[in-house]
Amino acid sequence: MAGGACDNARPVDPQRKRKIRLVVALSVAVLLAAALVYTSFSAASEAKEPSQLIGAAPGTSYDMTGKVVPGSIRHHGEGLRFRVVDRDGGGPTLPVTYSGTVPDPFRGGREIVLTGEVAHGVFVGEPDTLVTKCPSKFTTSNDS
């Protein structure tokens, strides 16, 4: 008896049952994927460089990526004040305030990503969102 023991009558043709199952599974997958795509576009914050943020409207959250200006870091009360510049090093600098602790690799000249808003010309970073790129691993040139 090849193929198993399904001689007893069945109400649904197994071929059809498989097809229905496939359609259901695919529709669920498509729905989930749509939710994923939709929420990702609404949840993402825009990545901007400091020069693009000067004069930006308040009330919008941005991911700022830039380079910390060497020598600009000052402790101020419970937080830090420093200035950032575009990653290529050109353009105007943007003042930043950030409260809370910073990751170990944070220092002047290093690239950071920080989420926050612009208020009165100052970029106010949200606590716990400062990401500092690790140094020199896999760099081929030593420009610092």
């Binding site: 000052r74 409260s99 602790t101 990751p103 990503v113 691993k137 760099t139 081929t140």
Partner: protein, 788 residues
């Protein structure tokens, strides 16, 4: 001299790999001599690459700064332990590691299959040798990544040194583990390609490479765990996972690899899911390459460094070739890949495996989308937007909860079909226990405030009790058969069925690990507090007092620390979080202010416990120290510069420096004098920091149950090792003279498995009778068939 010899050895290894690939293809129609030549060429190339690694390590150990790689990544001051690890902190060294590990894995795989799979092996050899040749060729021809490149003349006296942030014991094992994981997935991929080309699409390629897939999976997983531990203890932010692109890049092949390890069992046992398995291994290998690419490309922002380097585009090209080639191959073989069998019942282990596969693939797809979202959004909206941890958590949490449930359900079900009565019997105890755990958690803890975590705890208890029941039933069944004590029976049943029980132990580990993650992420208390010496604050019911600052200084670093007293009702304990500021290495002669021009890292103060961790990091305010250092440097300059009114000892130093400028022989003495003076001054500044009592910022984190995450990870690793360890019969299959031997061995194991399932009560009598008859028929048919 050594360097040019090394370059020659590397070039020879490249040529040997190309030769191996070519001879394998010439011998593909069954000419044994060519196949033998290709296998020996792979062994030889492995030897040559080993020599390359030895040469590089000798150069590191002996401070040979004529090697550019040594000059850039090591220094005389670098501890010997880290000199050996410095190789893979460099781009070129990590490529060499890739090629070397691949050559070892390929040699092992070819040795294990030397008498088997005669049709598949030549193609698999060609794929493995081709990929090894690609990575070796990259070092030779891509430019700027030859590990044997020379430093520009004149040969420097000292190197730049290994970045202090990388000087952590994990550096010794974390990168090699991840690389070995990535690389070992090449082996099943290569054999899958061979099987597709030759249309030998039964489970033989899977049996031959399953062990490599499991090794790759275990290495990659252990590498991820070490990375998580490293970032938890070192980077000063107290997290173990940040959904950083490079972390995700290593997690994705691990997830798909997990799916692959499960679904190949379905093909082995039932001959189904052949297309799916081929797709999974292609995806796993492509994702491993993608991980290798991401670290070197600079396309995504990450805390891991990306230098824009020359090799990125080549690796991307390889990924494209792998994806397009494999897809074309799979599509052209679709007719041969159709399985002859269908799933008997939804209530069977294979259906659970399919569900778990879908969950794992969905998890990976979500992470993939989130990781590459910056590129996707730039494509559609023109701006690079990125997704943060909350987005990832929203999707990965429910999927992980689903996975942990199936981690428990899968092992309880037998293959092919499970009757309702049997299911009721095996699910009863785990379900009641899980419900009880749920009630206890709801009544006595605030777990209900976090519904996802609550669900995970309940499902994980279901899984743990179910798995415990499996061990108990297995041991009981063995005792009925063989007698003896219960512990002896337990050891007996585990050691005779290592693959099965090793897998169960992995499941236990993963369930425990997920409990640790859920508890520590959902019920964590995190505070940043600013304290002056003597002040205190209350965190999570415990009083944290900043007793006093500490500071010390040596030639390499300025260390600012704190003594924290943590009191919890009665007894308390002290923690000593410190922050170390390193001078830039490889640039002697900087002033005292140069202590704050280099890297800094945290030594956290950690009180770990089974109930939870008390984690502290210190961020001292060093503005004052820096000001003093700058003033001291200025004073020193004025002092040696001479002029009216400087003290006499200044004049002596100034005279020494001027003499050294004229006479190079005096330079070391002058430099030593200056260093001594700087060190003395820096020590005074450090003492001043302690006396001044400036406020410091402390990050305090209370992480409940986080220790179980590490314990769970280690349990899973132990399970993988048990599953890998060959039993006597698998050893026979491993060195089987022919494919038929291996097949017979596999069928014999399957019959044994069914017997165990029956004895343990997972298969009803009638189901077992049916299954046993089927299996025995298959075995007889196999013995009757002409030897292949």
């Amino acid at each position: 001299m050594t360097a040019s010899f090394g370059s020659a050895v590397l070039a020879l290894a490249f040529a040997t790999m190309v030769f191996a690939a070519a001879t394998a293809l010439i011998g593909r129609k069954g000419d044994e001599r060519w196949v033998l030549a290709s296998r020996r060429a792979v062994y030889a190339a492995c030897g040559l690459l080993t020599l390359c690694v030895v040469l590089i390590e000798i150069a590191f150990a002996s401070d040979d700064f004529s090697f550019n790689i040594v000059q850039q990544h090591s220094s005389i001051e670098t501890p010997a332990f880290y000199k050996l690890a410095a190789m893979w902190s460099s781009q070129e060294g990590s490529l060499l590691l890739w090629a070397w590990v691949l050559s070892i894995a390929s040699s092992l795989a070819l040795y294990a299959t030397r008498n088997r799979l005669r049709e598949i092996v030549p193609y698999a050899t060609a794929v493995m040798a081709g990929i090894a040749a690609f990575f070796t060729g990259l070092m030779l021809f891509a430019g700027g990544v030859n590990p044997f490149a020379l430093s520009p003349a004149p040969v420097p006296l000292d190197g730049i040194g290994l970045n202090p942030l990388l000087q952590h014991p994990s550096m010794m094992i974390h990168p090699p583990m991840l690389y070995s994981g990535y690389v070992a997935f090449t082996i099943p991929f290569a054999f899958a390609i061979g099987a597709l080309i030759t249309r030998r699409l039964d489970a033989s390629w899977i049996r031959a490479t399953r062990r490599f897939a499991l090794i790759a999976w275990a290495f990659l997983g252990f590498g991820l765990l070490l990375g998580a531990r490293w970032s938890y203890t070192e980077l000063g932010w107290g997290g173990y996972w940040a959904w950083d692109p490079v972390e995700n890049a290593a997690l994705m092949p691990w997830l798909i690899g997990t799916a692959f390890l499960h679904s190949v069992m379905v093909q082995e046992k039932r001959g189904m899911l052949r297309v799916w398995n081929a797709c999974l291994i292609v995806a796993t290998f492509s994702l491993a390459l993608l991980g290798t690419f991401l670290v070197r490309s600079g396309v995504l922002q990450s805390i891991h460094a990306f230098g824009n380097s020359t090799v990125g585009p080549y690796i991307l090209g390889l990924i494209a070739v792998v994806l397009i080639g494999s897809t074309a191959l799979i599509v052209s073989r679709l007719d041969d890949l159709r399985s002859e069998k269908r799933i008997d019942s939804l209530a069977s282990r294979e259906s659970v495996f399919i569900v778990n596969n879908l969950l794992l693939v969905a998890l990976c797809a979500t992470i993939f989308w989130g990781t590459f979202f910056p590129l996707i959004s730039e494509l559609f909206t023109g701006t690079k937007s990125s997704l943060a941890a909350p987005w990832f958590d929203r999707y990965t949490t429910p999927l992980a909860i689903g996975l942990v449930l199936f981690t428990g359900i899968g092992p309880l079900l037998a293959w092919r079909r499970v009757s309702w009565a049997t299911a009721k019997r095996v699910f009863l105890v785990p379900a009641i226990s899980a419900a009880a755990v749920g009630v206890v958690l709801a009544l006595f803890t605030d777990a209900l405030h976090k519904p996802w975590a609550f669900a995970l705890f309940v499902f994980a208890s279901f899984a743990l009790v179910g798995l415990g029941q499996e061990f108990w039933r297995g041991a009981k069944a063995r005792r009925t058969l063989k007698g003896g004590s219960m512990p002896a029976a337990l050891i007996g049943v585990v050691s005779r069925n290592r693959r099965r029980y090793g897998g169960y132990i992995v499941h236990i580990g993963i369930a425990v690990l997920l409990i640790g993650i859920a508890a520590s992420s959902s019920f964590q208390t995190k505070r940043d507090i600013v304290l002056r010496p003597g002040e205190s604050a209350v965190v999570d019911g415990r009083r944290v007092t900043y007793v006093r600052p500490t500071a010390s200084v040596d030639k390499l670093a300025f260390t600012a620390g704190a003594v924290l007293r943590v009191q919890d009702g009665g007894d308390g304990f002290n923690l000593y979080p410190t922050r170390r500021f390193y001078r830039p290495t490889g640039q002697p002669g900087g002033g005292i202010a140069s202590y704050f021009a280099g890297e800094s890292d945290s030594d956290i103060g950690l009180k770990a416990g089974f109930g939870g961790d008390f984690w502290t990091a210190n961020q001292p305010n060093i503005t004052g120290v820096q000001r003093h250092a700058r003033a001291a440097d200025l004073g020193f300059k004025r002092c040696v510069g001479g002029g009216p009114g400087v003290p006499p000892q200044c004049r002596a130093v100034g005279a020494l420096m001027r003499a050294a400028l004229a006479n190079p022989q005096l330079r070391p003495a002058a430099l030593a004098k200056i260093e001594l003076l700087q060190l003395q001054t820096a020590k005074q500044i450090a003492a001043g920091y302690v006396a001044e009592g400036t406020p410091a910022t402390f990050r305090v984190i209370v992480n409940p149950l986080v220790t179980w995450m590490w314990i769970g990870g280690l349990i899973a690793l132990a399970g993988a090792l048990i599953g890998l360890w060959p039993t006597r019969s698998t050893r026979r299959a491993l060195v089987a003279d022919s494919e038929l031997e291996a097949l017979k061995e596999a069928k014999y194991r399957e019959i044994q498995d069914a017997e165990l399932d029956h004895a343990a009560g997972k298969l009803s009598d009638e189901d077992f009778a049916l299954l046993d008859a089927e299996l025995r028929n298959e075995a007889v048919a196999m013995l009757d068939s002409p030897s292949r």
